[in-house]
């Protein structure tokens, strides 16, 4: 079931959470709404669920072509998973998962045996059959969220919405639950939208990512697209670590730190200031200066613990810090030492006009 949102705005008092946002989510996809606090992603999700009502004048919300703007939460038949402890504290795990099936009107309600069968099938899916008679307070955070997931799925919703579902959990548990979510989604082919501020999570789990900031959508695309072809400085900065270099347009070409970058932009005036974003793994280090390795910097910190080697350098010209990432072999090849002076090369810079201030 696809989701379509048209020109939706939402204001809370004087705070504008969403500014005229439009979004289309194809059926069966797992989509991430990614952005910092206050970007409006949670508000958008809740509007889709029916938990918030958009401002008057906003466009309609469609589920697979049906205008559902006037339907209440219960009528929309969406599954919703919250960040914090939305399990019913005084009910057992079984009763929690069965809840949605039990509150249905008499006519369409399943019989007790059928409900029981369904609940245990779901518990088996997340490997928590033995928890059926326990209470939420007796489970770990990760187990609770698994239950929250299947509770939402118990009523067979056409759309699954998750609001920072793993935010309150430890890093390791988070990774595990991401895998569960991905698995459940693949098995059930249910249109899913989840909200997160963790770009790593979005990149890892989602089919498509919608990057939001200050109530608007900055970019929408596959993880590869938003990571490698960011539409603007914000997206570039938000996804992954990034180094910042300043430069300007000169003779029709972009010059970063005296280095001519092979990108010419006809539409920008001379001397327009630009910024270039370079990912740490796109920084190359060499002991020799040449036409590519032009920036002189001193190594201030080397961190070898981890999958790759992180090197922090301080530029000689302006004292700014640069973060580089090398794979272990390259690092050992170069046998770099702390406090050494080396030269830096920038690869794959993402260049934007310097109007966005971080």
């Amino acid at each position: 079931m696809s989701i379509e949102v048209n020109n939706v705005s939402k204001t809370f008092g004087r705070f504008v959470a969403l500014k005229n946002v439009s979004l289309h989510i194809p059926s069966g996809e797992l989509v991430a709404l990614l952005g910092p606090s206050g970007s409006g992603k949670t508000t958008l999700l809740r509007i889709i669920a029916g938990l918030e009502i958009p401002d008057p004048g906003s466009g309609p919300v469609f589920f697979h072509g049906d205008n559902i703007s006037d339907r209440s939460v219960a009528e929309r038949q969406v599954g919703f998973v919250f960040q914090h402890y939305s399990l019913f504290r005084h009910m057992s795990i079984f009763e929690n998962v069965a809840f949605g099936l039990r509150v249905r009107p008499r006519r369409i309600r399943f019989g007790k045996d059928e409900i029981r069968r369904r609940v245990f099938d779901l518990l088996k899916l997340v490997q928590l059959e033995q928890a059926a008679n326990l209470y939420p307070s007796q489970l770990s955070g990760g187990q609770r969220q698994r239950i929250a997931l299947i509770r939402a799925l118990a009523v067979e919703p056409k759309i699954l919405l998750l609001d920072e579902p793993f935010g309150a959990l430890d890093a390791k548990v988070r990774k595990e639950l991401r895998r569960w979510l991905r698995r459940l989604h693949d098995e059930m082919s249910i249109t899913s939208v989840f909200v997160t501020h963790d770009q790593e999570e979005a990149l890892e789990v989602a089919d498509r990512i919608t990057v939001m900031n200050a109530g608007q959508i900055e970019q929408e695309g596959t993880p590869e697209q938003v990571y490698h072809q960011p539409a603007n400085s914000f997206v570039c900065n938000f996804l992954g670590n990034v180094n910042l270099f300043h430069g300007r347009v000169q003779d029709g070409r972009v010059c970063i730190e005296d280095l001519e970058v092979a990108r010419s932009r006809d539409d920008y005036a001379e001397r327009t200031p630009v910024v270039a974003y370079v990912r740490p793994h796109d920084i190359e280090i060499s002991r020799q200066r040449d036409h590519e390795f032009t920036i002189l910097a001193q190594i201030t910190h080397i961190r070898t613990a981890g999958a790759t080697v992180r090197i922090e350098l301080k530029r000689h010209d302006n004292g700014e810090f640069v973060e580089a990432e090398l794979n272990r072999n390259r690092y050992l090849e170069l046998s770099l030492q702390n406090r050494e002076n080396v030269f830096i090369k920038l690869q794959n810079p993402q260049i934007f006009v310097a109007d966005y201030v971080i």
Binding site: A74, Y85, R89, V103
Partner: protein, 279 residues
């Protein structure tokens, strides 16, 4: 450090433990424990037969029926309406909410005698409300109904104040989750909200009940104090004292004290159980 403390407490660099604890225990014993013990010791001077006769006299039994019965009903009324008031105060946007909220504590801050004469003035046969009701044939003052009303007034803040914090801390997400799973508003109230409120409702009931049992000042004006009909147990104790029937007074006092202590215990247990499901 403090020599007195030996193993009584864990080591702490803060001073004054011995002094403060010592003074506390001394004051507590002098003002509270010894006087309270006096009741039981005095009652102990009665033989079991005398004791039983004193507490099971028909007039005394009638007073129990009135005190316990009216307190129970008043506490029940307060449970229903206290929940309602707390609900409206916490969940609805009301003009003058702060003012109303502050006023809830009035029965607690107002001296009982003032409450007593005010309520009597209102519900007496020629009072603001007593008058119209009287014309409808309903007598309030000088009847058990008046006693119930007075006790409802006294117990009003208890349920409201125990339920309010729980309502405020209710996770809105649980309700939204229930709604997203298809539950209607009454279903959400019955299945999700009410179970969370039950411990605090019980506690509030017990507090209101305990307070109403021992209440004197606000009841004694409106009740009329007719023996066997509208005489509350505390008044009976005073009457016996004035007749120098110390034994009788003490015996009844023991019954009331034991009840109060049992209630206090129940309240403590309820408050502990309230946190059972929390995580």
């Amino acid at each position: 450090m403090n020599v007195q403390s030996y193993q009584l407490k864990q080591h702490s660099i803060l001073p004054g433990f011995g002094l403060s604890l010592g003074y506390t225990l001394l004051y507590l014993s002098l003002i509270v424990l010894i006087p309270l013990a006096a009741v039981f010791v005095s009652a102990g001077s009665l033989t079991p037969g005398q004791f039983w006769a004193a507490i099971s006299h028909p007039r005394v039994l009638a007073s129990y029926r009135l005190s316990f019965g009216a307190s129970f009903i008043a506490a029940m009324i307060n449970v229903v309406f206290g929940l309602l008031v707390a609900w409206v105060l916490v969940r609805y946007r009301l003009a003058g909410r702060r003012f109303i909220d502050a006023l809830i504590d009035l029965p607690f801050a107002l001296p009982t005698a003032v409450a007593g004469i005010a309520l009597t003035a209102v519900y007496a046969p020629n009072g603001w409300i007593g008058g119209p009701l009287g014309r409808l044939g309903i007598k309030v003052a000088y009847t058990p109904l008046g006693v119930i009303l007075a006790l409802t007034f006294i117990g009003l803040p208890f349920v409201v104040r125990t339920v309010q914090p729980v309502l405020q801390d209710l996770s809105k997400e649980s309700e939204e989750a229930a709604a997203s799973l298809g539950a209607s508003a009454p279903q959400i109230f019955k299945k999700v909200i009410l179970p969370e409120l039950v411990p605090s409702l019980l506690t509030g009931f017990a507090l209101a009940f305990a307070r109403a049992l021992g209440e004197y000042g606000s009841v004694v004006f409106i009740s009329g104090n007719m023996p066997m009909r509208t005489e509350i147990t505390p008044l009976l104790i005073i009457t016996k004292l004035e007749q120098y029937d110390y034994a009788g007074a003490t015996a009844i006092a023991v019954v009331m004290l034991v009840t109060s202590f049992v209630l206090l215990l129940i309240i403590n247990v309820l408050q502990k159980r309230a946190t059972r499901y929390q995580f």
